[in-house]
C-alpha cells in the first residue's frame, strides 16, 4: 500500500516536471553571442533615464546618436583581439561649426530609418534633448547639458520652458545646436544615450514602451525579447544602413550580477563573454589566458573634510600614508591601478596622451618640491614625510588623540579598502580610524551634510575630458562634500570651460589639478583607477571597447 503511494508520488513529481518544463530549441547555424555584462536587470532601457554602463552597453547596440563609436586597428588593454574605439559620424553624415565653436550644424544621413520603417528626422533629436533637460522627466542625467547647450540649466531648474533649449530642426535632415560655452568634448557627448533620437509617437502615453516589440531601434540591432531579470535578446536590424557588415545574427545579454554563476556558465561554454569575475579567481584565470583587463574611466577617491581636518599637513599626511599599491594588489585585485593623479588613465590630453602619463605624479609633485629631502616616488619615503608633516601639525596644536571616522557605502570591496586605509593610518601616523558604512541609496545625501573626517566616493566620467572631474569640486562643484573652496581653482575651471581644445587648455587643466595638491588643497585623496575585467572566447574577433564608456561592443564581431 505504502509502496503504491510512493510510486504515485514519484509519478506525480514526474508529471509536475513535465508540466513545468519545456523543450529547448537551439538553432546551430546562427552566429550568436551570449554575453553577461555582470549586472542584474537594468533599471531602465529608456535612453534618457539610464544611469550606468550596463544599460549603455545594451542601448549602444540598438540606438545611434549623431556620432558613434567605431573600431580602430589598435588593441586596447591586455587582449590583442579587442580593439580601441574612435568617434566617427553616426546618424549625422557630416557636421560643421562656426569659428567660436558655439554653433554646430549636423546634416543627417539620407538612408536612416527606424526598424519599423519610419525615417529618422532631426526633430526626433530635438524631442529627445528637450525631454532630457525637462525637469518633469526626472532623469538623473538631466543636468548633462547644463552650461553647454543654451538655456539647459535654466530649463532643468524649472525656470524656462523646454522649447527654449538651444537645439532646432530647420528641416528633417538638419539639426542646429547653439552652445553657451565652447565645449571641447561636445562631439563625444553626442554618442551618449541621453542624446540619441527618440520617437515621441512611441513614447507619449505608453509607460512600457521600452519592452521588446515597442522599443524602436535606429542602430545596428533591435530588441526581440526581454525576459525580465533573465536576458535581453537583440537581432540584426534589417533597416540599419550598415546592415551588410554586421557580425552576429543574435546577441543575448544575460542579466545576472552573480559573478560565480556567470563564470560557471562561461567555463561550461554557455557564454562567450563575461565581464566581472570573482576576485579570488582572477589569478587562475589570468594564468589560463581567459582573463583580460581594460582601463576604465573611473577614479575612487577619499574626501578629506577641511572643516574637520583644518590643518593641511594632517590632510597631506593622510594622503601620503596610504599604501595604494597594497590596495590594488591585495584588496581590489581586479587590475585596478594605484592613482597618481585624480584623472584616470582612460582620459587623454588634447594630443591623445593618457592624462596621468602626461602630468606625472601630480599628487606628490608640489610636496616633493617643498620637501626635496624625501623620496616621494617610494612608499617608504612618503611615510617618512607623512610622519614629519603630522608631527609638525601636532606641534602646532593638532590633537594627536583625534579619532577620525571613515564613511563608505556598503559593499565588500569598500569595506576591505576602508580596513586597509584604517590600518595604514594607524601604523604610520598612529591615528585611530573608526569605520562607518551607510546604505548606498542614502549615502551621498548623508555625506553631503558634512561633519565627517574621511568619506569615500568613486566617479566615472562618460566623456574624455579632465574637466569633468574638476567640475565636481570647488565652490561651484556638484560633488564638493569636503567643504573646500579656492578662488583660483574656480576661476581656472570657468576659464577652461570657455576655451577650445588644445595644448593651451591642457595647461590650464594641469594647473587646476596642481592646485588641488598644494597647501591650499589636499581635500581630495585619490586611491585607485578602476578597471574592466572580462573573459572572452578566444575565437571571437572584431570586438571593440570605448574605454570612456567602459562597454564592449559586439556589432562587428566575427567568429
Amino acid at each position: 500500500m505504502k509502496r503504491k503511494a510512493l510510486a504515485t508520488f514519484f509519478i506525480a513529481c514526474g508529471c509536475l516536471a513535465m508540466v513545468f518544463g519545456g523543450t529547448n530549441v537551439r538553432a546551430d547555424e546562427e552566429f550568436t553571442i551570449d554575453a553577461a555584462t555582470g549586472y542584474s536587470e537594468p533599471h531602465s532601457m529608456d535612453p534618457t533615464l539610464t544611469t550606468g554602463g550596463d544599460q549603455y552597453e545594451i542601448i549602444v547596440h540598438m540606438e545611434e546618436g549623431l556620432m558613434k563609436f567605431a573600431p580602430t586597428t589598435e588593441a586596447v588593454g591586455t587582449n590583442p583581439e579587442e580593439m580601441a574605439a574612435e568617434i566617427v559620424p553616426g546618424q549625422a553624415e557630416s557636421y560643421e561649426y562656426d569659428e567660436d565653436t558655439l554653433t554646430y550644424t549636423f546634416h543627417l544621413r539620407d538612408d536612416i530609418v527606424w526598424n519599423d520603417g519610419t525615417p529618422v528626422t532631426a526633430d526626433q533629436f530635438v524631442y529627445a534633448w528637450q525631454r532630457l533637460v525637462d525637469p518633469n522627466t526626472a532623469s538623473s542625467n538631466g543636468s548633462l547639458l547644463n552650461a553647454i547647450v543654451k538655456n539647459a540649466a535654466a530649463i532643468n531648474a524649472g525656470e524656462m520652458d523646454p522649447s527654449e533649449l538651444g537645439v532646432e530642426a530647420p528641416d528633417d535632415k538638419t539639426l542646429v545646436v547653439t552652445l553657451e560655452n565652447s565645449c571641447a568634448y561636445f562631439l563625444e557627448l553626442t554618442c551618449s544615450s541621453q542624446l540619441m533620437p527618440l520617437r515621441q509617437d512611441v513614447i507619449e502615453g505608453n509607460d512600457t514602451w521600452t519592452e521588446a516589440g515597442t522599443y524602436c531601434a535606429n542602430g545596428p540591432y533591435v530588441m526581440t525579447e526581454w525576459v525580465h531579470d533573465s536576458y535581453i535578446t537583440l537581432e540584426k536590424n534589417e533597416k540599419y544602413y550598415d546592415y551588410e557588415n554586421l557580425g552576429p545574427d543574435k546577441i543575448t545579454f544575460h542579466l545576472s550580477d552573480s559573478q560565480t554563476s556567470n563564470l560557471a556558465a562561461y567555463q561550461s561554454g554557455d557564454y562567450d563573454f563575461i565581464s566581472g569575475v570573482p576576485a579570488d579567481q582572477i589569478e587562475a584565470l589570468e594564468a589560463s589566458g581567459d582573463l583580460f583587463v581594460n582601463p576604465r574611466c573611473n577614479c575612487t577617491y577619499l574626501y578629506l573634510n577641511v572643516d574637520s581636518m583644518t590643518d593641511w599637513r594632517v590632510r597631506a599626511a593622510v594622503l601620503l600614508a596610504i599604501d595604494r599599491d597594497n590596495i590594488v594588489e591585495n584588496v581590489t585585485q581586479d587590475g585596478s591601478t594605484a592613482a597618481i593623479s585624480l584623472i584616470p588613465e582612460a582620459i587623454t590630453t588634447s594630443e591623445g596622451e593618457s592624462w596621468p602619463d602626461a602630468v606625472g605624479e601630480v599628487m606628490y609633485s608640489w610636496l616633493q618640491e617643498q620637501y626635496p629631502d624625501y623620496d616621494l616616488s617610494d612608499y617608504v619615503g612618503r611615510c617618512e614625510l607623512a610622519q614629519q608633516l603630522y608631527q609638525e601639525a601636532v606641534d602646532d596644536g593638532w590633537n594627536p588623540d583625534t579619532s577620525m571616522d571613515y564613511q563608505y557605502n556598503t559593499s565588500d570591496t569598500n569595506k576591505a579598502i576602508a580596513e586597509a586605509v584604517q590600518s595604514d593610518l594607524s601604523n604610520v601616523l598612529g591615528i585611530n580610524v573608526t569605520l562607518n558604512n551607510i546604505d548606498s541609496a542614502g549615502y551621498t545625501q548623508t555625506i553631503s551634510q558634512g561633519g565627517f573626517y574621511i568619506a569615500r566616493l568613486g566617479y566615472g566620467l562618460s566623456y574624455n575630458d579632465a574637466i569633468g572631474y574638476f567640475n565636481l569640486f570647488g565652490s561651484n562643484g556638484s560633488f564638493e562634500y569636503s567643504g573646500w573652496s579656492n578662488e583660483k581653482y574656480d576661476e581656472l575651471v570657468a576659464q577652461a570651460h570657455t576655451m577650445k581644445a588644445g595644448t593651451e587648455r591642457d595647461k590650464v587643466l594641469e594647473e587646476i589639478e596642481a592646485i588641488m595638491f598644494t597647501d591650499e588643497g589636499f581635500s581630495i585623496c585619490p586611491l585607485y583607477d578602476g578597471s574592466y575585467t572580462y573573459c572572452m572566447d578566444s575565437t571571437l574577433k572584431g570586438v571593440f571597447y570605448p574605454a570612456i564608456e567602459g562597454v564592449t561592443i559586439f556589432s562587428y564581431a566575427e567568429k
Binding site: 518633469n136 509607460d207 525576459v227
Partner: protein, 313 residues
C-alpha cells in the same frame, strides 16, 4: 470550525493592515529616495518627488496606498522600469509562478527528506547512522546557501557538466534541480533535527511502550503512532517555512539566474522603490498569514487533542 475560520480570517485581515502600515512607515523612515543617485541634485529630486506624489504628507500617501490596494491597484514602479505597473513586475512573465515552482519543489524535498531522516535518526538513536545524520544536518544548517550553491555549481556544472549553470526560467527541466537543492538543504537538515527530537520524545511515551508490549511491528509503531504526535512541532514550523521557501530565494535565484520574485525583496529596498517594497511585503505577509491559518487547521487533523474552538478539550 466554520466560525473559527471566519474569526481567523478577520483577524488575518487586521494583521495584514498593520503589516502594511508598519512597512509603509518603516520604509519612509530609512534615509534615501528613489530619485536620488550620484548625479542628482536635491532640486531635481524634489521635482520628481512632486511628480510622483512623494511630497505629500506620509499619512495621505499611506491612505492612498491602502485605498488603491483595496481596489486591487498596486501602483507603478518608481525605479525599476519606472512607470511600469507593479503588478506586471511582480506577476508578469511568470515571475511569481517561477518562485512558486522552485518553492514547491524545495518544500517537497524538505518534507520528503527531512521527516524520514529525522525518524531514522531517532529510531537508531546513538548508533552510527544517527551520528552520521547528526553531523550531516549540523553541517547543512551551518553552511550558508550561497556556499552550497557555489559548491553545486562547481561540481555539477563546471566539473561534471551535467547540469546547466544558469537555470533561467527552467526551460530545461534539469535546470530546477540545483536551485531546489540549494534552497532546501538548510530546511531539510533543520526539519530532520526537529523531527528527531520530537520523535524521541514521542517514542518514550507510555502509549508507545504499551503498543510495543502489545507486539506492534516497528514500522507501524513509528509511522502510525509515534509520528503523528511527533509531527506537531514540525507542522508548526512548516507554515512559515512554506512562505519563506516561496518568496525567500533571493540568494539562490541570483546565483542560478532564476528570474523569480525573491530578488525583489532585497533589490526594492536597496532602490527605495516604495511601491515594490509595499507589494512584496504584502504578498509575503498574505502567504505567511494564509499558511499559518492552514497549519492551524492541519493541527486538528494531526492531533485530535487540539481543539480549534478552544471550548471543547
Amino acid at each position: 470550525m466554520f466560525k473559527y475560520i471566519l474569526k481567523r480570517v478577520a483577524a488575518s485581515a487586521v494583521t495584514l493592515l498593520l503589516v502594511a502600515a508598519i512597512t509603509f512607515l518603516a520604509m519612509n523612515a530609512i534615509p534615501g529616495n528613489p530619485f536620488l543617485d550620484e548625479n542628482t541634485t536635491v532640486e531635481q529630486m524634489e521635482i520628481a518627488n512632486a511628480k510622483y506624489g512623494l511630497d505629500q504628507p506620509l499619512l495621505v500617501q499611506m491612505k492612498n496606498y491602502l485605498l488603491n490596494y483595496l481596489h486591487g491597484d498596486m501602483g507603478e514602479s518608481l525605479k525599476m522600469q519606472r512607470g511600469t505597473p507593479v503588478k506586471d513586475i511582480i506577476f508578469g512573465q511568470g515571475k511569481f509562478e517561477l518562485s512558486i515552482q522552485l518553492g514547491v519543489l524545495a518544500l517537497f524535498l524538505t518534507v520528503l527528506m527531512g521527516i524520514p531522516l529525522g525518524c531514522i535518526a531517532a529510531y537508531n538513536r546513538g548508533k552510527a547512522v544517527d551520528n552520521f545524520l547528526n553531523v550531516f544536518s549540523t553541517v547543512g544548517i551551518a553552511a550558508p546557501n550561497f556556499v552550497v550553491a557555489t559548491l553545486l555549481l562547481t561540481l555539477l556544472s563546471v566539473k561534471l557538466g551535467i547540469l546547466p549553470a544558469v537555470s533561467g526560467s527552467f526551460n530545461d527541466p534539469k535546470a530546477i534541480i540545483m536551485p531546489a537543492i540549494a534552497l532546501s538543504l538548510y530546511y531539510v537538515c533543520y526539519v530532520a533535527k526537529l523531527t528527531r527530537t520530537s520523535m524521541l520524545d514521542a517514542i518514550n511515551q507510555d502509549y508507545i511502550r504499551t503498543a510495543r508490549a502489545k507486539g506492534l511491528r516497528t514500522g507501524s509503531l513509528i509511522f502510525k503512532h509515534a509520528l503523528r504526535n511527533a509531527l506537531i512541532p514540525v507542522v508548526t514550523y512548516l507554515g512559515p517555512l512554506t512562505a519563506g521557501l516561496l518568496c525567500g530565494g533571493f540568494v539562490v535565484e541570483t546565483t542560478f539566474g532564476v528570474p523569480g520574485l525573491g530578488r525583489y525583496f532585497v533589490s526594492s529596498i536597496i532602490d527605495r522603490d516604495y511601491p515594490i517594497i509595499m507589494a512584496t511585503t504584502i504578498v509575503l505577509s498574505t502567504l505567511i498569514i494564509g499558511m499559518n491559518l492552514i497549519v492551524d487547521i492541519v493541527y486538528k487533523i494531526v492531533d485530535p487533542r487540539i481543539s480549534l474552538s478552544g471550548t471543547n478539550n
